[in-house]
Every structure is written in C-alpha cells, then in structure tokens.
C-alpha cells in the first residue's frame, strides 16, 4: 500500500507533502538508537518529534512517519523532513489504537 492510500483510508493528518512511498512494513519506536536498525520502506510510528528522529529516518529510508497522540512536529523538523522527502503524518489516538487500525487494514 502507498502512503497516500493509507492517509485516505485512516484519515491521518498530514504535515507536509513528502514522497508517496510504498509501505513495506511497520515499526514502532521512540528511540533514535533503535530506529537505526530498521529496514527501508517501513512506516515509522512514534511519539517522538525531535529532529534527531528525522536524521535517523532518512538514513534508513522510511516510507513515512506517523506521530501518535496528536503530537505536532516543530517547523524545523518539518523543514528537514521536506528536504529528505519524508512524509509526516499525525494520529490523534494512542499508538496501540493506530497499530490495531493498521492490522485491520492488513498492513504489517
């Protein structure tokens, strides 16, 4: 599934344009030191809106990042994501609710 289709089907908020990539898997983490180990094309779900996260997400070429619990990234974070072509999305519920929703959609 493409990121644009996910946004349509789950009504996620979008914070920027980003590149419409194919989602190859899901990864949930709030630690930069952990994200470094994921494979390319994963949808990253996190609470963390720090700039460091974008630097790590770009390195591992994520499909997009979803900030759960209604977290809003700062302007400099969005600017770095734009430069990297990483789509930033928002979900107002908790991470578990989003994970269940994604499972129901068959994305894992």
């Amino acid at each position: 599934m493409k990121v644009s289709e996910l946004v349509e089907r789950t009504a996620l908020k979008t914070f920027n344009e980003g590149t419409d990539k194919e989602i190859k898997g899901i990864y949930i983490s709030d630690m930069v030191s952990d994200i470094i180990g994921i494979k390319e094309g994963h949808l990253l779900i996190t609470l963390q809106t720090h700039k460091n996260l974008i630097a790590a997400a770009n390195l591992v070429d994520v499909a997009a990042i979803v900030f759960s619990r209604d977290k809003i990234p700062a302007d400099d974070v969005v600017a770095l994501a734009n430069k990297a072509g990483i789509k930033l999305l928002g979900f107002d519920g908790d991470t578990w609710s989003l994970a269940k929703k994604l499972c129901e959609l068959g994305i894992w």
Binding site: V32, S33, H50, L59, G85
Partner: protein
Amino acid sequence: MKKSVCNHKWTMTNLRGGYLVIEGCFHCRHRISFFSQEPVPPIDDYQEGEHFWSHLADYQASQFDLRCEKCSTEVPLKEVMALMLCVRCNPKCGAYAAGAKEPNRQTWVYVALCSDTSHTTNKCIPSKSLKALNEYLNNGIADSAKKIAVVPCSLRKFVDTCQGIVLADVGLTELY
C-alpha cells in the same frame, strides 16, 4: 562464493545497544568517546598517562556490524561510535565538501564518529568500514537521485562548532 570477487550484499548484524560516552581531559582539553555496553555508563574520572579524563556526557546509542549475505564476510564496525548527519553548517568543512561532489544528486552526508574525537592520534574510521557502510546504506534506496555518503570524522573542520545531528538519543526530552 569467493570473498575476493563477491559483489557484497550487506546486512546489519550484531546490533547492540549501549551508551555513547564522551570524556574530556581538563588538562589538554582533548575529547574522546567510547561505546559502553554496561547497564549504567561509567562516569568516574581517571588518569591515563598525561590525561585526566572526566565524564562529559552519555547518550543511549547502538552499534552494529555488517555481514555479506552472499559470502558471509563480516565487517566489524566497533570503531564507529555513532553516525552524525551533516547539516552543512560550514562551507570550509570537509563533510560539507563531500556533500557537494555530485551536484545532480541529493547527497546526505553522515559522518562516522571515531573514538578519538579531537584526532590527536591521526587514526580515524578504517576505509574498509566506510566502504561497507556506504554500500550497505545506499543499497535499496528507492530514489535514484538520493545518495548517502558516509565520511570519516577526520574530515570535520571544527568539533566545537559542528552543528551535526548525532544519531543517538541526544536531547530527546527537550521541549519540542
């Protein structure tokens, strides 16, 4: 397959969590860093020859090695303390220059940080490690215009004014 002719396909192996620990010598003002896998990172001061090392900071981080899926060659990356995204803050810096080599591609420079932060020994990350890291991180990038360039931290112009983003859990609890 013969290791010497293998077109390596690297995969991450031996992923280990720990702490990036930075120490400074108040005597000569040099800095060093190391990766600690102890449950609590060491913070004690100690003397080593003419140096008096004191704990400056520690951040949760991870280290890994690379292994070729085809020929099983392993490249240990124990010399790499962390990777740091260059934010192109100084046009006179070697990391900045590394990002400007291919104007037709969007090159993201990641600086591989070695343990000798002040580079007093003239040793940095081995070229074999850098080559494998570059091959690994560029393999599978969907966008052909995007390139990851991993360079040694010896290219960095000034450690004190560098604004790079270290890929460790640095500042994650800051207000954002």
